[in-house]
Subunit: 348 residues, 2 copies
């Protein structure tokens, strides 16, 4: 079968590999769409920074070459022995993470913070950027009729954002600021709206990204050329936002998010910052505000996102492109140059 495999730094090959067969408890999926994620760019351009491929993954034993694609959807085509929870023909999004089950995080139910976390499609024996893959049946989240396979490939990144919104403890009727209108920033906007948070301001320096967000219905502001504090004040009648999200990973976005909070407000960090910044912890004291880290998702976030998708809260127009698997390297190039927001590889 055809698969996109990462062999080494800047070396992805679309090549023929053996078709997998489902073992006991597994299903075989015919993959449909697989999104390219920021993590994919990291391992493609700087595998050494993330320690990619230096040793077999402690949970999966995987080594390069690695089939990519951890944000993906597909259709069940074969059941391994003992599988009764899904049927051939079911369309599904795949929950991709592996966790050890024994570290402090896992024992506390926080499997998303497992110290050995792995991903199907990043550190495992398969992935979504291949015609087929096999996974244990418990990883499948079957899609209802209202959610197509393209949307199914977006469940994973949208779950990252949904999880962050859950961590914020926001309530319907409150006000929110999102710093950064990339895929996760848009996911935060969808999730907030789906949860009854109507007053949401999206701050983004790129005019192109603001335009995409505006076309979806978002209220946007440039933190560079507009008056961001004024926009926050106007959204909140002179107060601050109840929750803010750093989905940009740069110092000005962090400062704007923390600085826009009302007393008691909470800022969720969902972006990765490449470098440190100057921060006075006492900034949190005067208003008793909070900083909360949010990482990936839990299975319940997949369930919630799929339900919200079925209810019509998510839209792919204007920010999702689809490319054939043979164009995966070109697609990575366009993403890394900021020429596209999100690209799904169509594998079937």
């Amino acid at each position: 079968m055809k698969a996109a495999r990462l062999h080494a730094r800047r070396d992805i090959r679309v090549e023929d590999v053996p078709e997998p067969s489902p073992g006991p408890g597994q299903v075989k999926l015919r993959n449909a769409f697989a999104g390219i994620c920021g993590s994919d760019l990291h391992v493609y351009f700087e595998p050494e920074l993330v320690g990619y491929g230096l040793a077999p993954h402690p949970l999966t034993g995987a080594m390069p070459p690695q089939i990519l694609g951890h944000e993906f959807s597909g259709t069940v085509v074969e059941l391994g022995a003992g599988v009764g929870s899904v049927r051939v023909g079911d369309r599904a999004a795949v929950y991709p993470t592996y966790s050890c089950g024994t570290c402090a995080a896992c024992l506390a139910g926080q499997v998303n913070a497992c110290r050995l976390i792995g991903f199907h499609g990043l550190t495992s024996d398969g992935g979504g950027m291949a015609e087929y893959t096999t996974v244990t049946a418990d990883r499948l989240h079957v899609l209802p009729a209202e959610v197509d396979l393209r949307m199914g490939a977006l469940v994973e990144p949208m779950a990252v954002a949904w999880h962050a919104v859950a961590k914020s403890r926001v309530r319907p009727g409150q006000a929110a600021l999102i710093a950064g209108a990339g895929p996760i920033g848009l996911g935060l906007w969808f999730a907030l709206r789906a949860r009854g948070v109507e007053r949401v301001l999206l701050s983004e320096p790129s005019a192109a990204r603001r335009e995409v967000a505006r076309a979806l219905g978002a209220v946007t502001v440039s933190p560079v050329t507009d008056d961001l504090p004024g926009a926050v004040a106007s959204l909140t009648r002179g107060g601050g936002v109840d929750v803010a999200f750093d989905a940009a990973g740069v110092a000005p976005a962090f400062a704007a998010a923390v600085g826009s909070l009302v007393p008691g407000g909470r800022c969720v960090i969902v972006a990765m910052h490449e470098r440190g910044l100057d921060f006075n912890p006492s900034l949190l004291v005067g208003g008793e505000t909070e900083l909360i880290g949010s990482l990936a998702y839990l299975p319940g976030d997949f369930v919630a996102v799929i339900a919200a998708m079925a209810a019509g809260h998510y839209h792919a127009e204007g920010w999702i492109e689809v490319a054939p698997i043979d164009d995966v390297v070109a697609a990575i190039g366009r993403l890394s140059q900021g020429q596209a927001m999100k690209i799904l590889i169509e594998v079937a």
Copy 2:
């Protein structure tokens, strides 16, 4: 009556001032003990930095000279018209803060974060460092027989720490790290123990302060000469602490507190940092940890601290000194030199 009044920078005078008389709803207290707080040192040495005395306080109209003493206890000697909640002879701790009731924080019940907050004994018409003061009766927290007036003057700083422990959402049986063994650090230790948190590590670079804490029963570690990460690992069987407290206000203490957390752990900032530090917000992402600001206290914290004092959870041995009001300037000097942990001015 005799009172210690701050006239200007480094100018406290113990002098004769008119004795106050209780208005309607007020009580007259014969003051007993009044603690000297870090805020007192700030307004004494650097009033310009905190804007002290530049304009009448917006809630109280107070201007220098100011009678000091906002951590204080006393005995009711006279009731103003309409007071029925307390009786002459009652011994009480005084809840000192003024809040506006109309800002976003006040409207959310977070009166401790009022943007105009004032203090009786810092920005008002009286304070604890005088023979008498008058306050509205609702400010009194009557002390039970088990709590003496010296302990009563400690209710306010101990409430600061109690509030921070409440903000941490710690549960009995969890593990905690306190960075900084000053009065608030010790207050955190008392509060954690009173709430059923037995595994508490106190990190403090000063050998003298560690000795004081050890004499109270605390497990201490030097972050400079001991192996702090090793001590945390030994306390938690190789994991991290569930909650940490930055009660030091310096970069190494902050880093140690955040760095000692278990996944999902929470670090409460209760200290004021004079300067910023280098911080990568992504540090909070990997373990989904949280930073929480904690400011002052709410009335319920006074109630809880007095109950815990009555139950025997607080001790004054080894860290509390008492000085006569005539020695207030000398006492401030000793505190600013680190020659004493906490000094109560005895006014009656």
